[in-house]
């Protein structure tokens, strides 16, 4: 097929209204990107016609998402996961090896168009890293040998479908099971028990049960699920929506990948349950682009549920219980994990957070009442429906009932998924995963909190250390500054750019952190970082901006001795690095000898 034919098949426009096409814009773009490795100008023109949007706006959408490109990528588009845990497992050396071996620079397609090598934010494979994505499919457990094999396969233009199957083995690594994961067999079969309980008890009684269970949102913020569903149910509108947030972008978390891989039936059941309670007929699973390889299996599962009468018209024979689920793909934007950005993205737009109020429960998708919940929340709700509130709330603490899935990675012998009752101490978790000589844990990802191991008596709970599940361990050999630098760069890359403090502050912070790493920062710079961080925390528009400075502030406040060791003890060090400024000249001349450096020549 020619490019033009491919574009025409993807945006087959018969009978599609302008509005429907707009909502589908990001999905069209993802499909074109996947097939052609870029979005050609022709496709933009056709999409502009179909959606009746200005072309500049379509450019704006493409430019917003990291996985969409206006210039062709290589036939093999390789993205190395750039999470700190990947770094700790040697990913930067592997990146260098890939680039040298294939003769490419990061981000620049090879002149013959065969391959592009680049980095991407955490791919959610921290327990089996270093990892990469090749044309959207994950390869885990990279090693020198595996990289060498990949280079050979690429140089011989071997289709990825012909690559060794073990390259694509992604393991669940469930190492501790509790309430949710206890039943290994029921997970795979679409049993419908939660929906039967709904039909037997009625939606009012079931909503009461969800409220009694004390279930709170598993995405980190901990809003009471029953209350959210009740607000949404009470909001009057001609349609309601259920959205599952599977944009698991927080560095170091991967439990949603495991749930969608092995427990998706429960997740879909929870969404259907929610639909039955709030009166929704349509739901969406927003799947992060990094998990694209889960799309086909999930779609097959949805079809299976339709065939079994668990989705579609008159679910389980109940007259008028109609609900179906579509899967929408993200395209590399961490901000879309924020629920209002996710809704914007679901509507096919740039993932810019909305101002609140109004909240999604009354004005969400298409401005209709919408419940947005995390993957794990829907699964827990389905289980509560089937097994009762008591079954759930006997575990955990009074404020944080039930269990929490932790994604554990970093310096420990047994990284993987651990399900614990809320209230478990960090010490216990560290013991169970085989962490020795720990220095610190990073809980809740880049936006989370850095705790020295002396705080290991603290608990995982909404009232103490809240987390969506990311739990990264750093031993005493590690330089925590590397982590902070990685996160500072991450936020520069992932800030949406809407509000001033986050857009500008994240870049200022990154530069100051680099100054610290390079040994040029002074006490003055430390004060600057604190001031910028506090400003971002107080005045940013959304949760990304208010948390983006956390790793820097935690480092400065909780690890002052590490900072002190790094400081230059002069009154003032310029921000301008003369040697770094010569880099362009070195690149142009191809020189890297001592005479081409300021420091070496003085």
């Amino acid at each position: 097929m020619t490019h033009d034919e491919i574009i025409k098949t993807i945006i087959a426009s018969a009978g599609v209204s302008h509005d429907a096409a707009r909502r589908h814009l990001l999905q069209y773009l993802c499909q074109i990107q996947q097939r052609l490795s870029y979005i050609p100008g022709d496709a933009i023109t056709q999409l502009a016609r179909l959606t009746q949007l200005p072309e500049s706006e379509i450019h704006g959408v493409i430019e917003f998402y990291s996985f969409l490109h206006k210039q062709p990528r290589g036939q093999y588009d390789i993205l190395l996961s750039d999470s700190i845990t990947d770094h700790m497992l040697g990913s930067r050396k592997l990146l260098q090896q890939l680039c040298t071996r294939l003769g490419v620079e990061p981000g620049v397609p090879r002149s013959d168009g065969l391959v592009t090598v680049d980095t991407t934010s955490c791919t959610g494979l921290c327990d089996q890293g270093p990892a990469l994505l090749v044309n959207g499919t994950a390869v885990s457990r990279l090693s020198d040998q595996r990289i060498e094999q990949i280079c050979q396969l690429i140089e011989t233009a071997t289709e990825t479908s012909q690559w060794p199957a073990e390259f694509f083995d992604i393991e669940d690594n469930i190492l501790r099971r509790d309430l949710l994961l206890a039943d290994e067999t029921a997970a795979a079969s679409p049993d419908g028990s939660a929906l039967r309980a709904l039909i037997e008890n009625g939606s009012d009684a079931l909503l009461d049960i969800i409220e009694q269970s004390g279930l709170r949102g598993r995405g980190g913020a901990g809003f009471r699920t029953g209350m959210k569903w009740r607000f949404c149910k009470q909001a009057e509108a001609d349609s309601h929506y259920v959205v599952c947030n599977a944009d698991e972008g927080e560095p170091g978390t991967f439990k949603d990948r495991v749930l969608l891989n092995s427990y998706a039936n429960s997740v879909f059941e929870g969404m259907t349950l929610c639909a039955g309670i709030i009166g929704a007929q349509q739901g969406y699973l927003y799947l992060r682009g990094e998990y694209r390889y889960l799309l086909e299996p999930l779609q097959a599962l949805l079809q299976q549920r339709r065939d079994n009468g668990l989705l579609g018209q008159d679910i389980l024979g109940k007259d008028g219980f109609n609900f179906d689920i579509d899967i929408h793909l993200g395209a590399g934007a961490y901000i879309c994990g924020e629920e209002s950005s996710l809704i914007e993205s679901l509507e096919g737009k740039r993932g810019i957070p909305r101002k609140r109020p109004p909240f999604p429960v009354t004005h969400g998708y298409l401005n209709k009442p919408t419940v947005v919940n995390n993957v794990e929340t829907f699964m827990a709700a389905a289980k509560i429906s089937a097994l009762g509130a008591d079954w759930f709330c006997h575990a955990g603490t009074p404020e944080s009932t039930g269990t929490k899935l932790l994604s554990i990675s970093g310096d420990c012998e047994r990284p993987g998924i651990y399900e614990y009752p809320f209230g478990v101490t960090i010490k216990q978790v560290l013991e169970d995963c085989g962490a020795v000589d720990s220095q610190a844990v990073q809980i809740a990802g880049a936006a989370g909190t850095t705790l020295p191991v002396s705080d290991a008596n603290r608990c995982i709970a909404f009232e103490d250390v809240a987390t969506a599940g990311s739990f990264m361990v750093f031993n005493k050999e590690r330089k925590l500054l590397d982590m902070v630098q990685n996160f500072a760069r991450f936020f520069v890359h992932e800030s949406c750019g809407f509000c001033t403090p986050c857009r500008v502050g994240s870049s200022l912070l990154k530069d100051l952190v680099e100054k610290l790493v390079n040994g040029h920062a002074t006490q003055y710079d430390v004060a600057e970082m604190k001031q910028i961080g506090a400003l971002m925390k107080r005045s940013s528009f959304c949760g990304l901006g208010t948390t983006a400075a956390n790793p820097v502030l935690d480092l400065l406040n909780r690890f002052p001795q590490l900072v002190e060791e790094q400081l230059a003890h002069s009154g003032y060090e310029p921000a301008f690095d003369l040697d770094a400024a010569l880099q362009d000249a070195r690149d142009i001349t191809g020189r890297d000898d001592a005479g081409a450096h300021i420091e070496a020549s003085t």
């Binding site: 500049s56 990291s66 934007a333 809407f498 994240s506 001031q531 910028i532 400003l535 107080r538 528009f541």
Partner: protein, 246 residues
């Protein structure tokens, strides 16, 4: 309009009606809350954060926060003013704002708000981004160096002119204003100097051609009185409904 409900802005009672934001009520009462991306003719945006105020220990943007009975709003404490100054300093270092050479100097909202908050220097390290100037249109020029991403031109062109000439592209620190035309140039777009979008830019990014430095120093918009009295740039544009302030 009789306002029976009130909230307190720095100790002064401000009346409001249902549906008002803190900014709406303050503007109507003639109380000044510094702002850049807000223009009362358009839907509130909340992106520049310069109108940040503190309400019940939380910081919110006055332009998006609904007014409520009995709120105690801090608009003028040293801490809030310092915060605004820092946000303005961030905007100054993000773009290339060279006031001494800028035609808009003296009549620029960014500069006027900066003076109002007592900003004496940009403080942070300059980014010196490489941005272009678009002089392709016969009547209007765009200097992207000065764009602060307030999206007022985007909103005006979309909601009033119904032309969609402007939109935002990129992400994060790479966010930039784009022009909807085949070449990306203003001259190839449907933009006209009579458009609303030509009269809402609070800074010197969208400027009329052929009349540079018309006002001598001393007679410029903010030369004699501060922005808190003079009001916004857009409100003082001849084409716009003016006198929002005394």
């Amino acid at each position: 309009m009789s306002d029976t409900k009130t909230f307190s802005l720095d100790g002064v009672e401000i009346g409001f009606s249902d549906g008002d934001t803190i900014m709406d009520a303050a503007l109507r009462a003639g109380a000044y809350i510094p702002h850049l991306c807000h223009n009362p003719e358009f839907t509130p945006h909340g992106s520049c954060r310069v109108c940040v105020v503190e309400v019940n220990g939380r910081q919110v943007s006055a332009c998006t926060q609904p007014a409520a009975e009995g709120l105690e709003v801090d608009n003028g404490s040293d801490a809030i003013v310092e915060e605004r100054r820092n946000l303005l300093q961030m905007l100054f270092v993000e773009g290339n704002h060279v006031c001494p050479g800028c035609e808009k100097s003296g009549a620029c909202q960014l500069q006027a708000v900066a003076y109002y908050t007592g900003m004496l220097s940009p403080h942070y390290t300059h980014f010196f981004p490489q941005r272009s100037v678009d002089a392709s249109h016969p009547d209007t020029a765009i200097d992207f160096n000065r764009c602060i991403l307030c999206e007022l031109c985007v909103r005006a062109s979309r909601d009033v002119d119904h032309k969609n000439v402007f939109s935002l592209g990129g992400r994060g620190i790479g966010t930039h204003l784009t022009v909807n035309s085949p070449s990306g140039k203003l001259g190839d777009s449907s933009f006209a100097a009579t458009d609303k979008a030509a009269h809402v830019c609070p800074v010197g990014a969208i400027l009329p051609k052929h009349r540079g430095y018309e006002q001598p120093i001393g007679k410029r918009l903010y030369d004699k009185r501060p922005i808190s009295i003079v009001g916004d740039v857009a409100a003082n544009e001849p084409g716009n409904k003016g006198d929002r302030h005394g």
